[in-house]
């Protein structure tokens, strides 16, 4: 079957700026955690702002940024991962089911991490929870990166570049 390809804008400017700002802020927050409190807290406030803006944009934003476009029933994640395991798995122009739930999980975990960080104003008892949540978030980040690599290899596309340029190749068989 002949597969037609054309490059279209999938990720709008805010989604891209949000993504790379979050990457930067997370690295800064992680690196400054024990050594530079004022920078760590500023990074935390910034991540909080990014999360709020992303949630708002997820409700009103462009097609592929909206939660209604990519959040699917959890059983679809299992079906998608099973299909990937057997070498199948449809290609999604926007977020695939696993990526979609990863985004939701990351937004939730970041919110909890920031919340526990803010609670440290009440005392040190929240510090261990804050650190545990930060480690859990880091684990999700690593899973996200692994997912990007696997999906990119399976579908022969550079997803990192797509998150920079915003453009992806549209193929005839895309979901």
């Amino acid at each position: 079957m002949e597969v037609k390809e054309d490059r279209i804008l999938v990720w709008d400017p805010f989604v891209r700026v949000f993504h790379w700002s979050l990457v930067t802020a997370f690295v800064v927050a992680w690196a400054s955690g024990d050594e530079w409190a004022s920078l760590h807290e500023r990074a935390g406030y910034f991540i909080g702002t990014l999360v709020v803006l992303r949630v708002v944009w997820g409700l009103i934003g462009t097609r592929h940024a909206r939660f209604t476009d990519f959040v699917v029933a959890p059983r679809r994640v299992g079906e998608y991962l099973n299909a990937l395991r057997t070498g199948g798995g449809e290609r999604y122009l926007g977020h695939n089911p696993a990526g979609a739930w990863m985004i939701v999980s990351l937004l939730v975990m970041l919110t909890l991490t920031i919340g526990s960080g803010l609670l440290m104003a009440d005392g040190e008892q929240w510090e261990e929870l804050h650190e545990a949540l930060a480690w859990a978030t880091l684990l999700l980040v690593l899973l996200h990166v692994a997912g990007v690599v696997v999906s990119g290899l399976l579908h022969h596309e550079n997803l990192v570049r797509a998150m920079v340029t915003g453009r992806k190749v549209r193929r005839q068989l895309d979901v």
Partner: protein
């Protein structure tokens, strides 16, 4: 709103991200947990003191041993 209108609106959200970053960098924010930070600082200083103190003690012991027993070198 049309997709083109939303694309323009996304630039406004980009501006909000930049504005918040600039504002957070310029604001003089009080620390959320100054006690925790102070304790971390004390632990760090203790750690540094232990590390450097131990290193100085080990070096000086080595020098004393070498001076007292030059044949061992």
């Amino acid at each position: 709103m049309s997709e083109q209108g939303l694309l323009r609106l996304s630039w406004f959200f980009v501006a909000l991200v930049i504005a918040s970053a600039v504002m957070l960098a310029r604001l003089d924010l009080p620390l959320i947990a100054p006690d925790v930070e102070r304790e971390h600082g004390e632990h760090r200083h203790d750690r540094e003191r232990d590390t450097y103190g131990g290193l100085v003690q080990w070096s000086s012991g080595l020098v004393q041993t070498v001076v007292a027993n030059p044949d061992t070198v």
